[in-house]
C-alpha cells in the first residue's frame, strides 16, 4: 500500500518539517521506497512474541532506574546564562519565541 500526497502532508506536519511541494513529491517517492523495504517484516509470524524494547531484557531482568528527587545541578544566574548561551533568542533568563497569544 503506497502513501498518498495527503498522507505525506500529514506525516510532515506531525514531524514538524516544512516541506516545499517539490520536497513533498520527493518525500513521497523516498518513503514509498522505504516502505517497500520495511513492509517485509509484516510477513513474519510473531504470534505470542513479546516486543523487545531494551536489548538486555532479552536475557535478564531489566528495570530502569529512577534517580533520587534531588537538586543535582548548580543553581546560579551564571550557570543559567551558560546553559542558555546557545539559545537563538533569550532575554532575562527566558527563551524568546514569536507571540503565541494575541
Amino acid at each position: 500500500m503506497a502513501l498518498t500526497d495527503q498522507e505525506v502532508v500529514r506525516i510532515a506536519r506531525l514531524a514538524r518539517l516544512h516541506l516545499t511541494e517539490a520536497q513533498q513529491a520527493q518525500a513521497k517517492t523516498d518513503l514509498n521506497k522505504i516502505l517497500g523495504i520495511i513492509q517485509t517484516l509484516q510477513a513474519v509470524d510473531t504470534t505470542g512474541v513479546e516486543p523487545l524494547a531494551h536489548p538486555l531484557s532479552a536475557v535478564t531482568e531489566v528495570s530502569l532506574r529512577l534517580r533520587e528527587d534531588q537538586v543535582t545541578e548548580i543553581s546560579s544566574v551564571e550557570h543559567r546564562a551558560a546553559l542558555m548561551a546557545n539559545a537563538p533568542g533569550s532575554a532575562q533568563g527566558l527563551f524568546l519565541v514569536p507571540k503565541v497569544i494575541e
Partner: protein
C-alpha cells in the same frame, strides 16, 4: 615533515616513549596538528583548536614529569563529533548544530581526558550518525585514506580515516547499526562496539537510544583494551547504563581484567593458543551479494583462527535479512522521537523568516536537517503514528526479540563467538548511492542484528580487495561475542594479530 606517529605501532610503544621523555606530549600534539593540516583532503576534522589541544598536552607533560602519568597520558586522540565537548563545537555533522557549544563534556570525553589523552578535536561523521559512508555530513564527505575517491564508511567515517591516516593514535566512534565496525573495516583499522549499557551515552547526541553505543577505534586490538576499559563503566547520568555485567561491577578494570586472563589462558596452551574455542560461522553471512574477494579474505582469516587451535562450527542466524526492516523501523522511530528536541527555541538553528511559533519550528527543522535525517524522521513519525504503530513498530520489536533469541541459541549451545564479514564489499566510490537513498541500507545486513540484540562486536583488518578505482582496499573481519564478553573478544583478536600483519599495513604504503 614526516609524521611522528608512523614510528609507533601501538599505544604501549608510544606510551613508553612518552614516559621515557624521548618526546613530549606537546611536541607530539604540535606534530599531529600539522598532519591534520597536511592531510586536509581527508576532510576528517570539523573542528580543531590548537590552544585547547596544547593546553591538554601541557597538562599531560606535567603529569609525565611528576610521575603521575597513566598508560593513556599524552596519547593523541580525537572524538567523533557526536560527543559533546566543552570548548570544541559539537555539531553532529549537522547545520542544525553548526554553532553549538556544549556547556559540558560527554562522559566518554571526560573519562578519556581525565586519563590524560590529548584531544586533537572533532571528527566528521554522518549527520546525527545517520549514514554508512560519511557522505551525509553538512561539512562535506570525509575520504578514505586508501583511496581518496572512496568513502571511509560511516557513520564514524572520519574516526576510522583519522586512525588509518595516522593523524591520531585512536578515536571515539558510535555504533547504532554498525557505525564503528563498518568504517573500521573499510579503512583497515580495529574497532569495537561494546555491549549495550557498558559505555555511558551521557553527552552522546542521541539517534536510536536503545541501539546507540560508543566504542573506540585504533590500529589494533591491544590498543582498544585500555581505551574501552577507560571509556566504560556505570554512569548514573545514563538511565540504561549497566551497573553489573554478569555479576561483575561495570567499572574500570573489568575489560582489562577479562582480556588479561583470557590471554594468560591462551599463552598456557602453547602452539594452539585458541584450542577449545568454537567459532560459529553463520551461513546467512556468506550468501548472495557478498563480494568474492571479501569472502576469500574472511575465509582465510577464519582458517588462521583454526590454525591457532579454534574449531569452526556451521551455524544459522535465520532472520539475518529481517534485521534490515526491523532496524529501519526501530532506529527511525527512536530518531523521530529523539530529534523532536530540535525546535529552534532552546538551541540549534532558527529560521530567519516565519509566521508563528509552529511555522518557526517547522521551517527551522527543514532548514537545519539534511535530506537523510529528514527521511528518517518522516519514516519514524509514520511508523509511530496512530493506526500504524502495531503493524510496524510493535511488529519490529517482536522481530527484534526473535533476532536476539537466534543469537542466544547460537552463543549458548553451539559456539563461543561468531565470525563473518562486516560488509558485503570494500569501500564504494563517493556518490555511488546518490540516486537511491536506500541503496546503502541493504549493505548493513551483517552489522544491524548485533545492535538489535545489544551484543558486543568488533572489526579487525583481515585482507584486501580491489575497489572501483582499481586500488587495493581493506577488508574487515567481524567478531561477535555474548553479552559483556568484550575482554575475551579483544584477546581473541589479539591472538590473531600476533600471527598476522594486516593491522600494520599503512594507507599509502601497502
Amino acid at each position: 615533515m614526516s609524521n611522528t606517529l608512523l614510528q609507533f605501532n601501538s599505544l604501549a610503544q608510544l606510551g613508553q616513549a612518552l614516559s621515557a621523555r624521548k618526546l613530549s606530549a606537546t611536541e607530539l600534539a604540535q606534530d599531529c596538528l600539522k598532519q591534520i593540516q597536511k592531510q586536509a583532503a581527508l576532510n576528517a576534522f570539523v573542528d580543531v583548536d590548537a590552544e585547547l589541544t596544547l593546553a591538554q598536552a601541557r597538562a599531560a607533560d606535567a603529569a609525565l614529569a611528576a610521575g603521575t602519568a597513566g598508560p593513556l597520558t599524552g596519547i593523541p586522540i580525537a572524538h567523533k563529533d557526536l560527543f559533546v565537548t566543552q570548548g570544541w563545537r559539537s555539531t553532529a555533522g549537522s547545520n542544525m548544530l553548526k554553532n553549538y557549544i556544549s556547556p559540558f563534556d560527554a562522559t566518554v570525553v571526560r573519562k578519556l581526558r581525565e586519563a590524560g589523552c590529548v584531544s586533537l578535536g572533532k571528527l566528521n561523521c554522518d549527520e546525527f550518525a545517520m549514514g554508512s559512508g560519511n557522505e551525509h555530513s553538512a561539512f562535506g564527505p570525509a575520504r578514505n585514506p586508501w583511496d581518496l575517491s572512496a568513502v571511509p564508511g560511516g557513520s564514524s567515517g572520519a574516526s576510522a580515516a583519522a586512525v588509518a591516516a595516522k593523524l591520531v593514535m585512536a578515536t571515539t566512534g558510535t555504533d547504532t547499526g554498525g557505525s564503528v565496525r563498518q568504517p573500521a573495516a573499510l579503512c583497515g583499522v580495529s574497532g569495537i562496539k561494546p555491549t549495550y549499557g557498558a559505555v555511558s551515552r551521557y553527552g552522546m547526541i542521541a539517534y536510536g537510544s536503545s541501539l546507540d553505543q560508543a566504542g573506540p577505534l585504533a590500529a589494533n586490538a591491544a590498543d582498544l583494551v585500555e581505551l574501552l576499559d577507560t571509556m566504560s563503566g556505570f554512569d548514573p547520568r545514563d538511565a540504561t547504563s549497566a551497573e553489573q555485567c554478569h555479576g561483575v561491577a561495570n567499572a574500570p578494570g573489568r575489560i582489562r581484567g577479562a582480556y588479561q586472563s583470557a590471554n594468560t589462558h591462551y599463552a598456557a596452551q602453547g602452539a594452539k593458543p585458541l584450542k577449545g574455542l568454537r567459532i560459529g560461522v553463520p551461513r546467512e553471512y556468506f550468501g548472495d551479494g557478498l563480494n568474492n574477494e571479501v569472502a576469500q579474505a574472511v575465509e582465510a582469516a577464519i582458517a588462521q583462527f583454526e590454525a591457532l587451535g579454534a574449531t569452526r562450527v556451521d551455524i544459522s542466524l535465520p532472520r539475518t535479512q529481517l534485521s534490515i526492516p526491523a532496524y529501519y523501523v526501530i532506529a527511525p522511530a527512536e530518531a523521530s522521537s529523539n530529534l523532536s528536541r530540535y525546535d529552534g527555541v532552546r538551541y540549534g538553528h532558527r529560521s530567519e523568516s516565519y509566521t508563528d511559533l509552529a511555522d518557526m519550528t517547522a521551517r527551522s527543522r527543514a532548514e537545519g536537517f539534511g535530506p537523510e535525517v529528514q527521511r528518517r524522521i518522516l519514516i519514524g513519525t509514520y511508523v509511530l503514528s496512530h493506526g500504524y504503530y502495531d503493524a510496524y513498530y510493535l511488529q519490529a520489536q517482536r522481530l527484534r526479540r526473535m533476532i536476539a533469541d537466534d543469537f542466544q541459541a547460537a552463543l549458548t549451545t553451539q559456539c563461543d563467538v561468531i565470525m563473518g564479514p562486516v560488509t558485503p564489499t570494500v569501500a564504494a566510490p563517493i556518490g555511488h548511492s546518490q540516486d537511491d537513498p536506500t541503496a546503502d541500507w541493504l549493505a548493513d545486513v551483517y552489522t544491524l542484528g548485533l545492535n538489535l540484540a545489544g551484543l558486543p562486536g568488533m572489526s579487525i583488518p583481515c585482507g584486501f580487495g580491489r575497489g572501483a578505482a582499481g586500488l587495493q582496499l581493506p577488508v574487515g573481519l567481524q567478531i561477535i561475542g555474548n553479552y559483556f564478553d568484550e575482554g575475551r573478544l579483544l584477546a581473541i583478536a589479539h591472538q590473531y594479530q600476533q600471527t598476522t600483519d594486516w593491522h600494520q599495513r599503512i594507507a599509502g604504503q601497502a
